[in-house]
Subunit: 359 residues, 2 copies
């Protein structure tokens, strides 16, 4: 509202126009003396040059990410081995100083209930000696709203076989992209050991809109063919339909395969079409897919254990809010938005000038 | 709300606890079999190692920013010269293809009013041949909410003398920081040619909270002494106060200098105190100051002309919303929040996986 403070006095208000809309600034620009407007255009040309330099900067950051991916690799391999039970960490590797007070408080709260549950478990005794960290990735899928929204009950048994998720960056000189690799142990559902999803990116200013450039952008993605075992494809379901013959009036039952909700549709995304030829639904679906790809790459894969324990979920509230719109928005809003007025949240507003995080 | 889907069934709900709060995950963790919990701790130790690698990554990004600052430099110098009128750009340097349709439409809208205004201007004829781009930076200060909130009427005359704002990064091997330099032409207000504000940053995981690390963070800032001409200091005002002598009953008038609202208080920020010893107001003030410093560095300086023309203001709506809370929140909210439900805004939600933008 303050945006145009003072400009009205100079007679720059558009009749009926909103004062805080850029349109009024545009107008202002066109009201400048011709010699000044000319100089502003010179600055705009310089700004376009800056946008192209910025694009190069992001390419170098991408290179830097490739370099660091190699540095993280040993840690991620160790993680996979611990998760799958291939390696048992030593005592030294497991030393962890938890927040004792918090633990004790929680323990107090649940003691009673827990003892009942424990008793139940004792009876059931499903496995005395679990291998690795059972359902590590499935737990993450269930915990993160963006993923649990896609998750169907029939997906869960399959995701128990997910061993690891890795991010691979495109090679230097290649078009910028990253690939999510979902590594599975042998399972009764499909033959693939790895399911992949490639996200293609663009890091250059648009010729017609150079100023909208804000860094690399996902522009397209590509899934993979899943080689399902017979009858195990959860992305389709078979429905029976009765058909009446027009002439004879006889009825026959036909079976038909129709798409079925499943996380595994993630590997069969809709195609991005070049220029605004998509309907709104498709655009929304694709935008959501890009967001999920970005989230896997930026958050889930780099810090999986924190999603498993729930420690990362608090930090990501703002990230996930974007995903709320179609779901149970109201309930979340009650907590999220109101909190913003709390003094205690002031810290959240403090900019974290992370040169390399967007969110 | 989906976060804990399924966990309730396994008896993991804390009595009275909220299912979507991380606390329930914490609890879950503590309910894990001991051997599994041990392995989770091993993963957490790996995660701490990753956080330290990430810190190095951000240091390298900072280096990259230093490198690119040098590449932007010629463009920024040219910008300064055009703004101040030191250099007149050539015709080729000023060629700009505006969106004709938009321009014509606007022209139509304002033709009538404009002609009246033009007539008025013709009479006034303040300067036939303006130098450079008059009030370039002042216009930006007026246009950006975050800055206009600080701006007082008495600041405006001073900011007309602002020639340039530059960002300088700390040298390699030095503690990470950046300095905002405000370059002024000789003026009747103070002797400094440059006013500076240094923002000190930290790019390492906190020992007690390693997982909260998200990249470099501003931790402190330092202003500079302004060498005001006598009687020109707009950051103080003189008030007269009547004092009555207790014994004699005589009244005398004393003058007293008290702080005055001004943008120039930006150069005399409150000091960050080490550990939570600040009251909420001070914390909020400092957090806002950090945000403004970050905004100068990330947005205003790199793309000043777009704030001058207003073109950047639209993109920054989300950035600026953070600043709305104390001001004219409702009015803005009506437009901002409602827009989010528009189909047309779907694109905004598309993640821009800019490896190097935070927003």
């Amino acid at each position: 509202m303050e945006a145009n403070k003072g400009k009205g006095e100079q007679g720059m208000q558009i009749p009926g126009g909103q004062m805080d809309r850029p349109v009024s600034f545009h107008f202002m620009e066109s009201m400048l003396p011709k010699v000044v407007k000319r100089r502003v255009h010179a600055l705009k040309r310089l700004q376009v040059q800056c946008a192209h330099i910025e694009a190069k900067f992001y390419e170098e950051v991408h290179e830097l990410e490739r370099k660091y991916a190699a540095l993280y690799q040993p840690m991620f391999e160790k993680r996979r081995d611990v998760v799958t039970g291939t390696v048992e960490p030593t005592d030294a590797e497991c030393e962890w100083h938890s927040d004792r007070e918090e633990e004790e408080e929680l323990a107090e709260q649940v003691k009673e209930k827990a003892s009942i549950e424990d008793a139940k478990k004792e009876e059931a005794k499903p496995e005395e000696d679990p291998k690795g960290i059972p359902e590590f990735w499935l737990t993450i899928f269930k915990s993160v709203d963006m993923l649990s929204d896609m998750l169907q009950e029939h997906d869960e048994a399959i995701l128990k076989h997910l061993k690891d998720i890795q991010v691979k960056f495109s090679e230097p000189g290649q078009p910028m992209s990253f690939t999510l690799e979902f590594h599975f142990e042998p399972n009764g559902y499909f033959n693939n050991a790895v399911l992949t999803k490639v996200y293609k990116m663009k890091s250059e200013p648009d010729a017609t809109e150079p100023f909208s450039f804000e860094g690399p952008e996902i522009i397209d993605c590509e899934g993979c063919q899943i080689d399902w075992h017979k009858g195990k494809d959860v992305t389709v379901k078979t429905i029976k339909k009765k058909q009446k013959h027009k002439g004879r009036g006889t009825v026959r039952t036909v079976t038909k395969q129709v798409p079925n909700d499943s996380f595994f549709n993630f590997f069969n995304p809709i195609k991005a079409s070049p220029e605004g030829e998509m309907d709104e639904d498709s655009e929304f679906t694709l935008a959501t897919d890009f967001e999920i790809g970005h989230f896997f790459r930026e958050r889930i894969v780099p810090r999986a254990v924190l999603y498993f324990t729930g420690e990362a979920l608090e930090d990501d509230e703002s990230f996930e809010e974007e995903e709320m719109e179609e779901g149970d928005e109201e309930e979340q809003d009650d907590e999220g938005d109101d909190d913003d007025d709390d003094e205690g949240d002031t810290n959240k507003e403090q900019p974290q000038p992370a040169e390399c995080k967007q969110q």
